[in-house]
Amino acid sequence: MNKKTAIYLSCSLGIFAIVFCVALMVGRYPMALSDFFKCIFSSDSAYNTQRSIILNLRLPRTLMACFAGIGLSVSGLLYQEIFQNKLTSPDLLGVSSGASVGAAIAILLGLSSVFISVFAFVMGVATVMITMIVARLFKNNNSSVTLILAGIIVGGFMSAMLSLVKYFADPTTTLASITYWLMGSFQNAKMTEVYIMFPVMLASCIALLLMSWRINIIALGREEAQTKGLNYKAYRISIIAIATLLTALSVAFCGTISWIGLVVPHIVRLIVGRDTRKTIPLCMTFGATFMILVDIFSRTFTDAEIPLSAITGLFGTIIFVIILVYRRKEVYNDNN
């Protein structure tokens, strides 16, 4: 890691820490900085209410926002690298659309939030497996294109399934719940979910950081990776499995959150280039910070909570346009 990347990483970690603390302080029950430190570092019973708000409400949702931000940003980056296509998002192989169908069925059946998450996770992973099987049926050597095509087909099928489930849902109760779930929220985050997400996130991030240099070589394509001595198929399946796991877990607990998996990798690449030894750690810090900021905005901007996808969509599209304009200028300057 060079000096420039180390500086960016240190700065982004610093900003992340500040944003994390701010997320614990702000909300419908605002807290002064001094009160915040007192309830964190003292056991004074006068701050029990504030402490309870922080530990039981804000900490789990901020941690979940952090995990979802890391998971979606990193999986977006991984998909973009291994499919050599910068416009792919974590839903490329249908994981979000599958998870949405699973969650919608669970809501339709009137199951509890635990089962909604379980249904969403299982359906998300199953949809990716169906995509892989459909791609194999094509028997085409250009497996990246066939996999993307299979993802579009299976994703389309799952969207149709979701429409059917919504059609059968009660418009006054379950349909509203399904629609709200589909827009993503950290409102119901609990520490039990954090305990499930944390070890998976930690193991995935360590594995990705360890093989980050090799992901560069996988991003060169099958021919070059294989003739340089990497088992391309094994690495690609491992990377897809990690990306799917991260996305499926995020979607299962927080609902579908659009744009972050597309925008954050682009911002990071714009700053440090294409080397995944630099982009993976920065996607983690940028993704977590971005998602926590979105969550702060969602719960403080109005009295009611704004769905996450509405905010990520608004900011994501604007940021994406800025990136494209900036890149266009860069290319123009390079050519002149």
Binding site: K139, W213, R214, N216, I217, E223, T227
Partner: protein, 254 residues
């Protein structure tokens, strides 16, 4: 030594063999040029040798061992491969791209060591591409990119280097540069297997020529024996001629 035994190959969605019962040997330290018309099977043969295609009938053996039995990592220590046109990611820096050639010597969590990065500098110096090390692959000209790609294959330090039409996208000056580099590499005792559309390149390299037609090897022999008008006419048609107007002899068309 590479031994090709009864080698045939058919792509999944075709109903005819692209390669038809090939039998030949490639000896260590030789330069071998595959010549033939488009679609005669040169690239298929190159990709089979590089281990990029399988499901062939027959066998390809390296030192009496089938290359099918060689794990990918072991194979990459024997064969280095240079594609016809680099179609992969072009945003990596040249110095990083060259260092990827060391991946088969490292554990899954390791990245290149200091002495390997010094080797990258040494190879860059040898190929006169030091000034390109800090550039992205996409910023290079076709000739520069091809030389960088060849340098990345040389970094693998394999006894055999396989190149698919390494001069196809290059102007005359860069063709000469790449061929001179290949001649230098051959002097180190490496075996070179390459495909080409220009018989003069085989003459320049004093290569062993494998003249292919319709998935078969029509002739094998030294370039001086094979690159003759009457032999080439069997594959390329009657328009082939030997130009003697210049200070050197050159195969061309009427």
């Amino acid at each position: 030594m590479i031994t090709i035994k009864d080698l045939s190959f058919r792509y999944d969605r075709t109903n005819h063999d692209v390669l038809n019962n090939l039998n030949f040997e490639i000896f260590p330290g030789t330069v071998n040029v595959l010549l033939g018309l488009n679609g005669c099977g040169k690239t298929t043969l190159i990709k089979l040798l590089a281990g990029l295609l399988d499901n062939n009938r027959g066998d390809i053996q390296y030192d009496s061992r089938s290359i099918r039995e060689l794990p990918i990592k072991e194979r990459s220590k024997v064969f280095a491969y240079v594609a016809q046109i680099r179609s992969g990611n072009d945003e990596f820096l040249v110095k990083d791209y060259l260092a990827y050639g060391f991946v088969n010597t490292l554990k899954f969590y390791e990245s290149p060591k200091k002495e390997q990065l010094e080797q990258v500098d040494a190879i860059a110096k040898r190929f006169n591409i030091e000034h390109l090390l800090g550039k992205e692959l996409g910023q290079l000209s076709g000739g520069e990119k091809q030389i960088v790609t060849i340098a990345s294959a040389i970094i693998q330090n394999t006894p055999i280097v396989i190149l698919d039409e390494p001069t196809s996208a290059l102007d005359l000056k860069n063709q000469n540069l790449v061929l001179s580099i290949l001649k230098d590499i051959a002097k180190e005792g490496k075996t070179i297997i390459m495909s080409s559309h220009n018989p003069n390149h085989a003459l320049f390299l004093n290569a062993n020529v494998l003249l292919m037609n319709d998935g078969e090897i029509k002739k094998i022999g030294n370039a001086k024996e094979i690159i003759k008008v009457n032999i080439l006419k069997e594959v390329y048609g009657d328009a082939i001629c030997l130009s003697k107007d210049l200070s050197y002899e050159e195969i061309s068309f009427n």
